[in-house]
């Protein structure tokens, strides 16, 4: 998840409760993820689910002699498309490296910060900087 995307949801969740500030609200709080302590995981994609309310990447990550499986939560297709994602950006079998915020409860689930794709491209978890509160999105934000 890009910092801007994380800031969007965090701010949206907080500011929704503060009189005199923005009234944007989010689908749910992201407090279950430890955003202050991101980790990096690399592995092979076993599924890419282009769905609502969130997109998910499933990854097998080598862990010594074994494999540990991780689920990575992203934004929604709408938000991701504004950040350069497509439904076909990732395919099963792709090798990826992702910086993620893991679940606080220790389970192998996480929230994406940013990802390096098999072809070397780096994508965040949402639209470009400027989508968040205080800075209007670009007037034209076509799906790419």
């Amino acid at each position: 998840m890009s910092n801007s995307r994380h800031a969007l949801f965090t701010l949206a969740a907080i500011l929704a409760l503060v009189p005199g500030t923005t009234r944007l609200i989010a689908h749910h709080s992201f407090a279950m993820f430890d955003t202050a302590n991101p980790i990096t995981i690399s592995g092979v994609v076993t599924a890419f689910e282009w769905t609502n309310p969130h997109v998910y990447i499933e990854v097998d990550v080598p862990d010594g002699q074994a494999t540990k499986h991780w689920a990575i939560e992203l934004g929604s297709p709408s938000i991701l498309m504004r950040g350069g994602w497509k439904f076909s950006t990732i395919k099963k079998g792709d090798k990826i490296t992702a910086v993620v915020s893991p679940l606080r409860n220790g389970e192998p689930g996480s929230l994406l910060n940013r990802i390096t794709l098999a072809d070397g491209r780096v994508l965040g978890n949402g639209g470009p900087a400027g989508i968040g509160p205080g800075t209007p999105p670009p007037a034209s934000a076509p799906a790419r």
Binding site: A12, P19, T21, L24, I25, S29, E58, P133, A139
Partner: protein, 243 residues
């Protein structure tokens, strides 16, 4: 002669229609935080002041929710289960846009998040509240006040969380005033009045920027991994792993 009379009768109305701004289009909400252009940013919101009978529980719940979130155990909301937001919250969900469509006698407002739809009937009288079946969007009627579209909404179900999760009664009335601040910036001033719950009306403004050429994206909530555990906390369900 008949044709001439028809033209004479029709032209004032036609001229009035032409002077009204077109709100048709896709609009993305934005807030008033750092970096906002003060010329188009929404003005500060007014406070939520509940009657004493409701204020204590409301403030206690907000404090408990804030504390739980701080612990990393965010409390559940209806949205976690993909339930629609309803009015008025559907008008600003994160940065998801709303699409406004004007057709003869009606405005239709579609929120991209959760594909919520509301309809505003123009030139009609509002129904008595007790004749509107309580729902997520209620019954909305609209009229033009100069270049401002004024929408009156009643009939929002009491169980639907209100603005800032405030409680409301079946007597809640929502008045919106939509006007173009610039050609590409729209403001929706929302006034919530509830003689049973509120000490005084709550007033806040949503701001939107036009998204030219944007095609609304479908939003069908068919893969929701968030769930609420036995303690009311939001959790993430781990998937099958695609294997």
């Amino acid at each position: 002669m008949i044709v001439l009379c028809a033209l004479v009768v029709a032209s004032p109305a036609a001229a009035q229609t032409q002077s009204r701004p077109s709100l048709t289009g896709v609009w993305a909400p934005f807030g008033a935080g750092r970096g906002a252009d003060p010329a188009v940013a929404p003005p500060p919101a007014g406070p939520v002041v509940l009657k004493p009978a409701y204020a204590k529980d409301y403030l206690a719940q907000r404090a408990a929710d804030a504390e739980a979130t701080k612990r990393g155990e965010p409390p559940a909301s209806a949205a976690v289960a993909c339930a629609p937001y309803g009015m008025p919250r559907m008008m600003a969900v994160a940065s998801y846009p709303v699409e406004i469509l004007e057709t003869p006698g009606q405005f239709t407002i579609i929120a991209e998040a959760f594909s919520e739809v509301r309809r505003v009937f123009m030139g009609q009288s509002q129904l008595p509240i007790d004749e509107v079946p309580p729902g997520y969007y209620g019954h909305s009627v609209g009229r033009w006040d100069g270049e401002t579209l004024v929408i009156d909404t009643v009939g929002i179900k009491e169980s639907i969380p209100g603005y800032q999760n405030m409680p409301h009664s079946d007597q809640m009335r929502i008045t919106e005033r939509l006007r173009l601040v610039t050609a590409d910036v729209l403001h929706d001033q929302i006034t919530i009045d509830d003689p049973i719950v509120l000490e005084k009306p709550v007033v806040y403004t949503l701001a939107y920027r036009r998204m030219r050429d944007y095609k609304m994206v479908e939003f069908v909530c068919d893969n929701n991994r968030e769930y609420v555990d036995e303690k009311g906390r939001v959790r993430m369900r781990l998937g099958s792993g695609g294997r």
